[in-house]
């Protein structure tokens, strides 16, 4: 064991190993950060999405730091809430009704159109449906009526960008998120079209029963968001990038360690005990070599379940009697003949003692590089399954991001960040473990050392 420690200390002499260890350390820190800031159940809830979770996030927004490279300021999401901004007037009417009128002003300083416009509203009364009217006021005072007397539920969303009536009324039938930002003088001009910057106002008017409240919120969706951007379901990709780290590490480390140690111990036991046990293990190895691993995983995913942990269990089972078993076995066959094992037998050591105290430790150093080098294989196996659409349905992993991006034709549509972010992280993770593994290989295989 002391030789093992000495060899590990030797890792310091390899700059590549230091880099690899740094990467692994960083991943562990990110994983801990992810698990502390977003609990497991919260991560699942966020990634599942649904009403109310990501409604006010922009769709397919690029990371905000793209601005540094493009030199162009992409709009961020602007939210104007009647509770915190703007002015309101309340005017009593006959029949127990009041007319509420909100003016929601906002500053739009960007030279690029926003991606969408929506008006969310919430009222506290139930029962009879009511109606509202909305008017858009541009910086130069030009007014555009959006809707008049639109019927409204108590929790309502008016998707301004999807309003085709509005689109038809706008100059050149521009999409509302563009047409509403075009200066009237500019509207007739051909290309290039740019939004007029300045203070815009939205005036919302409704009549509600007295004693009740009505609040509304205008969201001008941006085209850039956060550090990682958003996907086509408005989800913040950062959630999956962060949570991908602990999941990849768990899958990789757990899978590699458990299956490798099991293989290792079983090969040792089989070799030592010999006879039928050894024969059975060899048959099982042949059988697993014959069974195609990935197709079996695909079938399990398709027919039984896709939980990450179920898949991990099956992967481990299928990997125990893998090709590595034969390699370990041949090593043990050699080690078995060593004189000190003869000696242990001679003084009457029990089988368990010989296997676990003498036989296994002797091979550990030789196998340590393999232990580390298989970790990336497991990490990428999870990604592979996810890319085939067999990823865990609820957990956000890096592979799932790539799958989502591919199924939404991200590359074709130019959302490169969506695929590059998880791919880069996968690459770095694999690279980190591989750097350490190859350095260990050089340390433990003396013949590879520089002469």
């Amino acid at each position: 064991m002391s030789s093992l420690l000495r060899a590990l200390k030797e890792l310091r002499r390899y700059p590549s190993a230091i880099a690899g260890l740094a990467i692994i350390g960083l991943l562990i820190i990110v994983s801990i950060y992810a698990m502390v800031t977003i609990p497991y159940s919260e991560a699942i809830r966020l990634w599942r999405g649904g009403p109310g979770v990501w409604d006010e996030y922009p769709r397919n927004a690029v990371p905000a730091w793209f601005d540094w490279f493009s030199g162009e300021r992409l709009p961020k999401t602007i939210t104007v809430d009647s509770r915190t901004a703007g002015t309101r007037t309340v005017e009593p009417l006959d029949g127990g009704l009041v007319r509420v009128r909100y003016t929601l002003p906002f500053e739009f300083p960007y030279a690029v159109f926003p991606s969408e416009l929506s008006l969310f509203s919430a009222a506290t009364y139930e029962g009879k449906r009511t109606r509202f009217t909305a008017t858009w006021i541009q910086p130069d005072g030009h007014t555009i009526p959006l809707v008049s007397d639109r019927s409204m539920r108590d929790t309502d969303t008016y998707y301004i960008s999807l309003d085709n009536n509005l689109r038809d009324r706008l100059p050149r039938a521009a999409a509302p998120e563009e047409g509403l930002f075009l200066a009237a003088s500019d509207a007739a001009a051909a290309h290039p079209r740019a939004p007029a910057s300045g203070t815009y106002e939205l005036v919302v008017e409704t009549e509600i029963p007295e004693g009740h409240s009505f609040e509304t919120r205008l969201v001008v969706f941006g085209k850039a968001y956060g550090l990682a951007g958003t996907d086509n379901r408005r989800r913040d990709i950062m959630v999956a990038l962060l949570w991908g780290a602990p999941l990849a590490l768990a899958f990789g480390l757990f899978g590699a360690l458990v299956s490798n140690i099991a293989t290792f111990v079983l090969a040792g036991v089989g070799t030592w005990v010999g006879g039928h046990v050894d024969g059975l293990f060899q048959r099982l190895t042949q059988l697993t070599l014959l069974l195609p691993l990935l197709p079996i995983m695909v079938m399990v995913g398709q027919f039984y379940g896709r939980s990450l942990w179920l898949i991990l269990g099956i992967v481990i089972l299928l990997n125990i009697f893998s090709g590595a078993f034969l390699t370990y076995r041949s090593m043990f066959l050699q080690a078995k003949e060593a004189p000190y094992i003869e000696a242990a037998k001679a003084y009457g050591a029990r089988n368990g003692r010989i296997i676990f105290r003498y036989l296994l430790p002797r091979i550990v150093p030789v196998l340590l590089p393999t232990f580390v080098l298989v970790i990336p294989q497991f990490v990428f196996l999870e990604a592979s399954l996810a890319v085939l659409g067999l990823g865990d349905p609820i957990l956000p992993t890096w592979g799932k991001l790539i799958y989502d991006a591919r199924s939404a034709d991200a590359l074709y549509k130019g959302y490169y960040y969506w695929i590059l972010e998880p791919a880069t992280l996968l690459m770095i993770t694999g690279f980190g473990f591989a750097l350490v593994g190859f350095a260990l290989d050089r340390i433990f295989n003396p013949r590879l050392r520089t002469m």
């Binding site: 590549s16 690899g20 048959r283 042949q286 059988l287 070599l289 014959l290 069974l291 195609p292 990935l294 197709p295 079996i296 695909v298 079938m299 399990v300 398709q302 027919f303 039984y304 080098l373 990336p376 294989q377 990428f380 990604a383 592979s384 890319v387 085939l388 790539i402 591919r406 590359l411 074709y412 130019g414 490169y416 695929i419 590059l420 791919a423 996968l426 690459m427 694999g430 690279f431 473990f433 591989a434 750097l435 593994g437 190859f438 290989d441 295989n445 013949r447 590879l448 520089t450 002469m451």
Partner: protein, 358 residues
């Protein structure tokens, strides 16, 4: 001395064991692919629902009382069950039927998928995908293997040189599989530069003249080949370099060097010859692997190979195709393993047969 009888007994034993392994492996696949028989309930429900809708929605049956119609559905469904063999239990009857159809290589009829020509025969469906699979994965396997072995040989002679250290330094790149590089390559060459196709086998519509067709296929092969090479080459060179290094520090190589033999002679006679069995074994196993195609690489590159066919079969619960693919792979693997045993037992003096057991 090996006696012929000993060798024959040894080989016969190996053959039986490999055969049993193939049978057990295939039976396992039958059970997994049918969810332990539960899939038959799904199949029966599907048949019943189809029969039911065909009878209840038939305008000719309008006005017929519901009880009569239900009776008709029951009768017709029973006939359908009999036709499809679904009236028999899964264990042992149907599962063994699947197994024997596959093992006898009759392969039978697919349940859902059809070939592009419309045939249901598993044999035709697989044969249709075989050329494109062999084209891509045969080429890539051979290219990867021979370039890796060649590079490794020359590196092992120039141990510690700049080139050697560069390759060793790049080895960790192989931690990522080929399909992964495929995504990057598609992004660079198809999405950004727009000089190579996104995927597929040939452009649409396929060119009429054979030469143009071949050129189009070649063009579509560039990115997948590049992806496989990037994913595999460094680790393979590294592995073979280690292997050759170990063999080139044997005593007999040192002696040959001391005798002043040319490095070419040393390489071919003293390094390559004793390592030939290992090289041949790994090439053979790699080539068999090409049979299955690669599910993910084919998915990423939209390549119409056996891997994607398999995925489609799994998605549609098409047991005969799943089994057909598996059983052919099993036979190829078992056959190759046996052939290798045979070669070793007969030719390689270092392999001891029979004797040496306690």
């Amino acid at each position: 001395m090996k006696s012929v009888l000993q060798i024959a007994r040894y080989l016969a034993l190996k053959a039986v064991m490999l055969g049993v392994t193939v049978v057990v492996g295939c039976y396992l696949v039958v059970i997994i692919a049918n969810m332990g028989g539960a899939l038959d309930d799904v199949r029966r429900a599907e048949v019943r629902s189809n029969v039911g809708s065909s009878i209840f929605l038939d305008p000719a049956n309008r006005g017929v009382p519901a009880t009569v119609l239900t009776q008709m559905v029951d009768d017709l469904a029973r006939l359908e069950f009999e036709r499809l063999g679904l009236d028999k239990p899964f264990f042992p009857g149907r599962s063994l039927e699947y197994l024997f159809t596959a093992l006898s290589l009759r392969l039978g009829m697919a349940e859902q998928l059809t070939s592009d020509t419309g045939s249901r025969e598993v044999r035709r469906i697989l044969a249709e995908r075989l050329p494109s699979t062999l084209l891509l994965f045969g080429t890539s396997t051979l290219l990867l293997f021979f370039s890796a072995v060649r590079m490794a040989l020359s590196l092992s002679r120039r141990y510690g040189s700049l080139m050697d250290r560069a390759i060793v330094g790049l080895a960790p790149l192989s931690a990522a599989p080929g399909w992964f590089y495929g995504i990057f390559l598609i992004l660079i060459f198809a999405a950004v530069l727009r000089i190579l196709p996104w995927g597929g086998l040939v452009k649409a519509p396929p060119p009429k003249e054979p030469l143009a067709y071949a050129l189009s296929v070649l063009q579509h092969m560039i990115l997948p080949l590049l992806a496989i090479m990037t994913g595999g080459i460094f680790a393979n060179v590294y592995r073979w370099r280690t292997f050759f290094l170990i063999y080139s520090s044997e005593d007999y190589v040192e002696l040959a060097k001391a005798k002043g033999l040319s490095s070419r002679t040393i390489q071919s006679r003293y390094i390559l010859r004793p390592t030939m069995p290992t090289i041949v074994t790994s090439l053979a196993l790699l080539l068999i692997g090409a049979w299955q195609g690669q599910i993910i690489l084919e998915t990423v590159f939209n390549w119409p190979g056996l891997g994607r066919q398999f995925l489609a079969a799994v998605n549609l619960n098409d047991t005969p195709i799943i089994l057909g693919t598996t059983v052919i792979y099993g036979y190829l693997l078992a056959g190759t393993l046996f052939l290798l045993e045979f070669i070793y037992a007969v030719i390689d003096p270092r392999v001891r047969v029979g004797g040496g057991r306690r």
